[in-house]
Symmetry: C2
Subunit: 143 residues, 2 copies
């Protein structure tokens, strides 16, 4: 994806750190700031964690990237935006996977809205991933 273009369209400065964060995010979806810092740091030795945080926050505000925050994990980021997709999180290893909605504009109608004007439905599925299912099986066998 042409992030230079996306940034220019919004009159955002084109900086090395910003582009490196987007590249890292594209290759490692659902990453936290610390992980992104490590990846960017390989390329740009002088970068700082603060720069990563600043850029992530700024790009979230501009809708260029998305932030999710599953319980028990720091904020995770991804470049997949505007498609209202949902997430599956493993209770044992915290792995996060994408899953689409059943319908196009799906869950935007709660049963009782309390007068709220709803603009987003965030769905997190919790469960056990395939590899954790296996290791749990192994553990049980040893009993």
């Amino acid at each position: 994806m042409d992030y230079e273009q996306i940034l220019k369209e919004r009159n955002l400065s084109l900086t090395s750190v910003r582009l490196a964060v987007l590249e890292a995010l594209e290759q490692h979806p659902h990453s936290e700031a610390g992980v992104l810092f490590k990846i960017v740091h390989k390329k740009i030795k002088t970068t700082s964690k603060q720069a990563i945080y600043n850029n992530l926050n700024m790009m979230v505000e501009h809708g260029i990237i998305r932030e999710i925050k599953p319980k028990g994990q720091p904020s995770l980021y991804e470049t997949k935006v505007g498609d209202n997709h949902h997430h599956i999180v493993c209770r044992s290893c915290q792995k996060v996977m994408d899953t689409d909605c059943h319908s196009l504009a799906p869950c935007l109608s709660p049963k009782i809205s309390h007068g709220f004007v709803i603009d987003e439905a965030e769905v997190t599925f919790w469960g056990t991933c395939p590899s954790c299912q296996k290791s749990k099986g192994d553990k049980n066998e040893q009993h």
Copy 2:
């Protein structure tokens, strides 16, 4: 609700702090630990924040209470458990409201499960509450 009974059934010690936390939670659903500490502290002057955290965590593990963690807020707790209800959060004032599911076992089937065994679907609706809609209107009128 008879929390003494609930605790006894699970062979959990019956302590003053624990009961006070449950009582506070029942009267103030979706409260964070700090708020609960203040409420409990009025009754039990010697209590500590750590005791609140310990009890909250322990009771969450036992399924006596539920923890939710909307993005941008500390963990919130409630005694309403086992009904798979969802939440509506106001983007401006962070108010949290309950909303039921449309069906009884609703969202437990994502479109693509990636082999995960799903046990819970957590749904958070984001929007603007009635009073924030009004104050936003007021603001706009002044432009």
